[in-house]
């Protein structure tokens, strides 16, 4: 007879078989049996966070930088509700997470027991799927299935809720079954005909553009390699969404920079004027499209996505290819080589006018800003950070706000999985715990959280986690004392009524760093910035870097509310001429 294992043991047996090496969690009454078993499974290391939201974001950072699912372990009630923000964040940005939550014993469910909440009810709309395990015999298969659901198709978070009595009960352990399709939900639904149509469209186009997104990153490093091959083979310009940065080298001549609300002038104008748009793994999000009825009016649109429900959701497309980016790109390249081996040569003439136009837009230099010798301009701080770290294969996380957009604009990525930012949900407080997770996955690498002082205070307690595990993360705060993006919108849309967007009682970040037993560094002038950054990079401990920047700098260029791509505000002067009026004011 095979051995009987307790529910708690089965949780770890499953993790072992799923090759989990790190979990992020916080103990509590309803998960104590699982925590009791932790010491018996040496291959699984637990990272103790300071708040369950931190566990969630750390798991996201871990997942995004490693390509493996992030695993979270939390208790019932508040443990589960605290992780909801991170689950929703992962759901919006398609990040694979497996969250194990404790639950009150089955006989107490529904009695409003201590630390009871309807965890599966609360997390139903923010997970791909969730399970309440009421029978010990279902536990192993449920956890294995949870890993499968989280990591296949369009990735996302899942949750398994395990009542405390189930954690004590014993049964036989079941190994994961060999891969089988989920209710017949296979992921590649395209045929050669679609690929041929795509190549036909590509060869006819004189104003093409690739518009790529997080789907390329999610499809694995091979997808980024194939994307580069395709872009070089065609000679087409390429732009990327916030989430797609790194899948194509940021300093390459064919790369037009990020597109969307704070994207470059050349990327947005090229999107507006193109005659062929090839969307690879992006979802026509509202930050990207601007005014939807005037979005790229003259183009044929191709959409490559693994999720059929992304297609024709916001924008109607002419050719839909449902499949994994990697598979679609590889078929496309194969056909391209067979049918149009001299594509680049034959096409150069055709797209030369288009490239001329793009160069003209480029010459506007939309990311330029007015420099200063007295105060540190936030853009300058990011530029210097990039220059001083670009040879180090660094991993960048961010919080949410102006600093995030400046980081996306001025830090150039040339590899996938190096850029972790909360895009869909826009979660302030994401970057610090995410950096913890990234550093756990890559202990030897340089991990920097480009932060704002308001965002970082939302999860600052995770510095304590970083110190406990000797994770030398660098928190690079662009400190302007305002919720900068809120302030910018109030300036543009609410007659400079800066309602509640100024933080009047900020902590002294250097002293705060010392209190956490890590290192605090402050830079006040552009002159000392480089030296201070070098000091930070030479510190092999967690650092909070308080970079005092211009308080009222705005993030440009910008597509104002309710406007299409070709009506961007380029800078402070332009702002006066293009006032946002009428309906635009009520949009977010």
């Amino acid at each position: 007879m095979s051995k009987l294992y307790s529910g708690a043991e089965i949780v770890f047996k499953c993790m072992e078989d799923q090759n989990v090496d790190h979990i992020f969690g916080y103990p509590g009454g309803a998960v104590l049996p699982i925590y009791d078993e932790l010491q018996n499974f040496k291959s699984i290391k637990h990272v103790l966070v300071r708040h369950e939201q931190g566990a969630g974001h750390a798991a996201e950072g871990y997942a995004r930088s490693s390509g493996k699912p992030g695993v979270i372990l939390v208790t019932s009630g508040p443990g589960a509700t605290n992780v909801v923000t991170a689950l929703t964040d992962a759901y919006m940005d398609s990040i694979p997470l497996v969250c194990i939550s404790g639950q009150v014993p089955t006989h107490l469910i529904g009695t409003d027991a201590f630390q009871e909440c309807d965890t599966t009810g609360i997390t139903r709309p923010c997970t791909k799927h969730n399970w309440l395990v009421k029978d010990i015999n279902d536990l192993a298969s449920t956890i294995h299935k949870a890993f499968e659901v989280a990591t296949t198709g369009r990735p996302g978070p899942v949750l398994v809720d395990i009542p405390k009595d189930i954690q004590f009960q014993k049964t036989k352990y079941k190994k994961p079954k060999k891969e089988k399709k989920l209710n017949g939900k296979s992921h590649n639904h395209f045929n050669q005909n679609s690929i041929d149509q795509l190549i036909d469209l590509m060869s006819k186009s004189s104003k093409p553009i690739f518009y790529t997104g997080g789907g390329v990153i999610n499809s694995g490093p091979r997808a980024s390699e194939l994307l580069r091959e395709l872009v070089y083979a065609t000679g087409f310009p390429i732009t990327s969404t916030l989430q797609g940065l790194g899948s194509f080298p940021g300093d390459d001549n064919q790369f037009l920079g990020m597109l969307g609300m704070h994207g470059t002038y050349e990327a947005n104008n090229a999107m507006h004027d193109c005659d062929l748009m090839i969307n690879i793994g992006a979802r026509f999000d509202d930050r990207i499209t601007g005014k939807i009825d005037e979005f790229s009016p003259k183009s044929k649109k191709v959409h490559i996505d693994i999720d059929p429900s992304s297609i024709n959701k916001n924008v109607k497309v002419d050719l839909a290819i449902v499949g994994d980016v990697k598979t679609v790109l590889s078929s496309t390249l194969k056909s391209l080589k067979q049918k149009k081996s001299k594509f680049l040569k034959s096409n150069k003439q055709k797209t030369s006018k288009w490239w001329e136009k793009i160069q003209k837009w480029r010459s506007v230099r939309s990311l330029d800003y007015i420099g200063s010798e007295e105060t540190i301009k936030p853009q300058y701080a990011i530029e210097r950070l990039y220059e001083l770290t670009k040879d180090k294969d660094s991993y960048i996380t961010t919080e949410v706000g102006q600093h995030q957009m400046w980081a996306a604009q001025h830090y150039k990525f040339d590899k996938p999985n190096r850029w972790m930012t909360s895009g869909g949900l826009g979660t302030m407080g994401y970057g610090l715990p995410a950096a913890v997770g990234v550093q756990v996955a890559h202990p030897k690498k340089l991990v920097i959280d480009i932060a704002g002082e308001a965002s970082v205070l939302m999860t600052i307690q995770e510095m304590s986690t970083a110190v406990q595990y000797n994770l030398p993360i660098k928190i690079f705060i662009l400190n302007n004392q305002y919720m900068g993006m809120v302030r910018q919108w109030q300036e543009l849309l609410h007659d400079k009524n800066y309602s509640e967007s100024y933080t009047a009682a900020l902590p002294d970040f250097v002293k705060l760093a010392e209190a956490y037993n890590c290192v605090g560094i402050r830079a006040k002038t552009p002159e000392e910035l480089d030296d201070k950054i070098i000091e930070m990079l030479n510190t092999d401990r967690p650092v909070i870097f308080d970079c005092m920047v211009d308080k009222v700098e705005n993030c440009f260029p910008m597509i104002p509310s309710g406007k299409p791509h070709n009506q961007m505000i380029l800078g402070p002067k332009d702002q006066e001429n293009k006032k946002i009026t009428g309906k635009g004011k009520s949009l977010v």
């Binding site: 599966t120 009810g121 139903r124 709309p125 791909k128 799927h129 309440l132 659901v149 989920l182 209710n183 017949g184 939900k185 509202d286 930050r287 499209t289 601007g290 005014k291 939807i292 009825d293 999720d307 059929p308 429900s309 297609i311 024709n312 959701k313 916001n314 109607k316 509310s561 309710g562 309906k583 949009l587 977010v588």
Partner: protein
């Protein structure tokens, strides 16, 4: 409903709303109905009526029939979003005017009044397969099966015969002929 779900832009286009009957085959497990209904409420889709019951005891499959309205784009989204749910096996979509599909709803009417009114009520239901389920000196309970709009009409018409209570199901659907939906 605006054409785009995006709060970043308003749509001025007004598209035509169609009524569709969506049939979903799901694993009959805890919370599955909440998943389906939650998807509708969370994404702002309409539910006009809902009927659900297990149809295969061995495989534990339930059949959910939802009547909804929306633009073609929204109805398409409904189907695609439903197909993403893990316990969903298949999704069928029929237009209400589809002649190849039978739609039926059932209603129970309680009539209270003198004999001539009770008989009048039964007679008025003649076209809709009336079944007299309960009869006393003062009251009748009549069951009819009909289309939604027919039941709507009867609910009004029976008032004059002393209708005091109406109970009705959501629509269920089945294709005509020997074929089944795969």
């Amino acid at each position: 409903m605006p054409n785009s779900k995006s709060a970043y832009s308003f749509s001025n286009k007004k598209e035509k709303f169609d009524t569709h009957i969506i049939v979903v085959w799901v694993d009959n497990e805890a919370g599955v109905l909440a998943r389906v209904v939650g998807l509708f409420s969370g994404r702002g889709y309409n539910i006009e009526s809902l009927a659900v019951a297990q149809v295969d005891e061995k495989l534990k499959i339930s059949r959910i029939t939802i009547v909804t309205t929306g633009t073609p784009q929204v109805v398409n989204q409904i189907k695609l979003q439903l197909r993403k749910l893990v316990p969903v096996h298949k999704v069928a979509d029929f237009k209400r005017e589809d002649k190849a599909v039978i739609f039926k709803e059932m209603a129970l009417f309680k009539i209270v009044g003198p004999n001539n009114k009770l008989e009048g009520a039964l007679k008025a239901c003649k076209k809709y397969n009336p079944v007299l389920l309960d009869k006393t000196k003062k009251s009748n309970v009549i069951q009819i099966t009909a289309l939604r709009r027919e039941i709507d009409k009867m609910s009004k018409d029976l008032k004059k015969f002393g209708l005091v209570s109406v109970s009705r199901t959501g629509a269920v659907a089945m294709t005509r002929g020997a074929d089944i939906f795969k």
